[in-house]
C-alpha cells in the first residue's frame, strides 16, 4: 500500500506541474483517483494495477489540462491578447476600461502640483515625499473595485491615505532636511500595507491572502522593470527623432512622458500581474532559485575573507543602510522561495542552502552591528542612523526566527508552514515601523 501512496504522490506532483489545473482541482481529482483505485482493488486487482487503470481512465493529462484551460480561461495568458468568448469577454473588457481610466488618473495626478505653482525644478522634495501618494491610492482603488471592497474597509483605506498625505505635507520640512528624505523613503513602505489590504479584499488576516500579496509585489516589481526598460527605449527614440528636426522636446519628455509614464506603469503592471495569474511560471521564484546559491557563495566568501585577513568592517556613514538592504534582500529570497514551495514537501537540498544563506547573512550583519555599536558615540544619533538601526534590528529578529524555523524544519522537527507563518506575520511590522519613522521622527528630531 505504501507503494501506492508513493505513486499517487508522484501523480499529484505531475498534475500540479500543469498550471491550468489549480491545487484545489488536483485535490478533487485525487479524491476521484482514490475512489477508482479503491473500487478496482475491491474487485481483486493489485494496488499498482488498479492505479494504472484508474490513471488511464482519468484521461491523458494533456487533453485533461486543455479541458481545464478551456474552462478556466482566466488562468490563461492568452486571455490578455485574445478576447475570451462568452461572458468572460464582457468582464475583461470592462476591466480594461477601468485600467485605462485609472492609469490616466495616476498619470494626471503627478501633474496636479504644478497647477498650484509647485514646479518640479524648485520643489523636488515635495514630489519625493508625495511620490507614493500620486499612484498608490489609485492602485488601491483598482483593487477595491476589482475585489468589491465593503464600505467600511474603503473608509479605513481613505483615512489611511489622508493621514499619509497629511504626514507628508503638514510638517515644516526644509528643502534638504534629513527627516524629509526619511519620509520620502518610508511613506511608500507604509502605504504599501494599505494597497495590500485592498489587494486581499479586506481579508488581510488570512495567510494565503498575505502570501498572494507577496507574490503580487514581486511580480509587479519585475513587470515594472520590464515596462521601464521599454519606456527607456521609447524615450531614447523620441529624443533622437525630435533632435533630428531641431524641435524642442525637453518639456515633453521630462515634463510628461517620463513622469506620467512612470505613474501609469504601476497601474498597468498591476493589471498585467492580475491578468496572467498562475499561468506562466512566476518569475520571482525563478530568480530566487537562481540567486540564492550565488548570494550564499558571496556571503560565505566574505566571511571567510574576513576571518583570514582579520580586516574588521570599517563602518562609515552610509554602510549601515547597505547592510539593511542586504538583509532585506535575504528576507526577499526567503519569502519568494517560500511562496513557490509546496509546504508539504520534505526538506531538500535547497532548504539547506536557504538556511546557510540566512545564517551567513545573520553573521555578517552581527559583525556590522558590532562595528556600528562600538562607534555610535562617535557618530551620535542622527535620524538616518536611528531609522537604519531600527530596520536592521527588525530584519535581524526576522532572520533569527527564520534561521530557527529552518533549523527545525531541516531536522524534521517542525513544518515548513511554521516558517511561512513567521515570515507572513512580519509583513505588517515593516510597514508599521515605516509609519513610525514617518509620523514620529520629524518632530522627534526637530525636522532636521
Amino acid at each position: 500500500m505504501n507503494n501506492l501512496e508513493e505513486q499517487i504522490s508522484h501523480w499529484r506532483e505531475y498534475v500540479r506541474r500543469h498550471r491550468t489545473i489549480g491545487s484545489r482541482d488536483v485535490a478533487e481529482l485525487e479524491d476521484h483517483l482514490r475512489d477508482a483505485v479503491g473500487e478496482l482493488t475491491g474487485a481483486g486487482l493489485a494496488g499498482d494495477e488498479a492505479f494504472l487503470i484508474a490513471v488511464k481512465r482519468m484521461g491523458s493529462l494533456d487533453s485533461l489540462s486543455l479541458e481545464f484551460a478551456r474552462e478556466h480561461s482566466d488562468r490563461l495568458w492568452k486571455q490578455l491578447v485574445i478576447p475570451a468568448d462568452g461572458e468572460h469577454a464582457g468582464a475583461s473588457r470592462s476591466e480594461l476600461f477601468v485600467v485605462v481610466i485609472l492609469s490616466m488618473v495616476a498619470a494626471i495626478a503627478i501633474k496636479v502640483p504644478p497647477l498650484f505653482g509647485l514646479e518640479f525644478d524648485q520643489h523636488e522634495d515635495v514630489y519625493a515625499r508625495n511620490l507614493a501618494l500620486f499612484v498608490l491610492p489609485v492602485l488601491a482603488t483598482y483593487f477595491g473595485w476589482k475585489r468589491g471592497l465593503g464600505l467600511i474597509t474603503c473608509g479605513w483605506l481613505v483615512l489611511g491615505f489622508i493621514a499619509a498625505g497629511m504626514l507628508a505635507n503638514v510638517y515644516p520640512f526644509t528643502r534638504h532636511s534629513d527627516t524629509g528624505t526619511l519620509t520620502a523613503l518610508h511613506l511608500p513602505i507604509a502605504c504599501w500595507l494599505l494597497v495590500g489590504v485592498a489587494y486581499v479584499g479586506g481579508g488581510w488576516f488570512t495567510s494565503t491572502g498575505r502570501m498572494n500579496f507577496v507574490r503580487f509585489s514581486g511580480e509587479l516589481f519585475i513587470y515594472y522593470v520590464l515596462i521601464a526598460l521599454g519606456g527607456m527605449v521609447l524615450t531614447a527614440f523620441t529624443v533622437m527623432m525630435f533632435e533630428a528636426i531641431h524641435v524642442r522636446y525637453a518639456w515633453f519628455v521630462q515634463g510628461w512622458l517620463v513622469p506620467c509614464g512612470a505613474m501609469a506603469a504601476v497601474i498597468v503592471g498591476s493589471w498585467l500581474v492580475e491578468a496572467k495569474q498562475a499561468v506562466i511560471e512566476n518569475m520571482a521564484p525563478v530568480l530566487t532559485r537562481l540567486f540564492t546559491p550565488l548570494f550564499t557563495l558571496v556571503l560565505l566568501a566574505f566571511l571567510a575573507t574576513m576571518l583570514f585577513t582579520g580586516h574588521a568592517i570599517d563602518m562609515d556613514r552610509d554602510l549601515l543602510i547597505g547592510f539593511d538592504l542586504l538583509l532585506a534582500l535575504v528576507v526577499g529570497l526567503v519569502l519568494y522561495a517560500a511562496s513557490a514551495r509546496d509546504e508539504h514537501a520534505p526538506p531538500g537540498i535547497f532548504d539547506v542552502l536557504q538556511m546557510v544563506l540566512v545564517v551567513s547573512a545573520l553573521l555578517v550583519d552581527l559583525l556590522a552591528l558590532a562595528a556600528i555599536v562600538s562607534r555610535i558615540s562617535e557618530f551620535g544619533f542622527t535620524p538616518n542612523r536611528v531609522a537604519a538601526l531600527g530596520e536592521n534590528l527588525i530584519l535581524l529578529i526576522n532572520l533569527a526566527g527564520t534561521a530557527w524555523c529552518y533549523g527545525r524544519f531541516v531536522r524534521h522537527r517542525g513544518s515548513f508552514a511554521a516558517l511561512e507563518r513567521w515570515q507572513l506575520a512580519f509583513l505588517p511590522i515593516y510597514s508599521l515601523w515605516a509609519a513610525v519613522v514617518v509620523a514620529v521622527f520629524p518632530p522627534l528630531f526637530n525636522f532636521a
Binding site: 482519468m58 479541458e67 481545464f68
Partner: protein, 112 residues
C-alpha cells in the same frame, strides 16, 4: 455502439443536472451513475467530468462545498441550484424538440 464526441458533450449538462436533481453528489459517484443509467453506452473519460462541473459552477447552475468522505478524505460535493433546475427544464424542452423532430423525419423516411 459508441456515441459521437459532440453528442456526449451536448448531453453532459442535462445529464449531470438531472443526476444532481436526485440528490447532492460528487464526481466519482456521478460518473458511476452515468454509466449505470446509460447501460455503459455513455463512456466519459473520468477527468472530463470535472471541467464540466466547474463550468456549471461558474454559471451558477450548481453550488459546491468541501466535505469529508466516509474514509475521511476531503471531497467536493455538488448541489443543483434554483437556476440549475430552471436550466434543466429548459434543456429538457430543447431535447424534446430535437427528439420529436428526428422521430418525425425518420418515421417519414421509413414510410417512403
Amino acid at each position: 455502439m459508441e456515441l459521437g464526441k459532440d453528442l456526449v458533450a451536448a448531453s453532459a449538462t442535462p445529464l449531470v443536472l438531472a443526476i444532481l436533481l436526485e440528490g447532492d453528489s460528487y464526481g466519482y459517484a456521478i460518473i458511476k451513475r452515468v454509466a449505470t443509467l446509460s447501460g455503459g453506452h455513455l463512456q466519459w473519460t473520468d477527468g472530463m467530468l470535472y471541467p464540466v462541473l466547474h463550468r456549471l459552477e461558474r454559471q451558477g447552475l450548481v453550488s459546491t462545498r468541501w466535505g469529508t468522505s466516509d474514509t475521511g478524505r476531503r471531497r467536493k460535493y455538488y448541489r443543483i441550484t434554483k437556476a440549475g433546475r430552471q436550466q434543466l427544464l429548459a434543456q429538457q424542452e430543447q431535447w424534446r424538440v430535437v427528439d420529436q423532430t428526428l422521430r418525425g423525419v425518420w418515421l417519414k423516411a421509413v414510410k417512403a
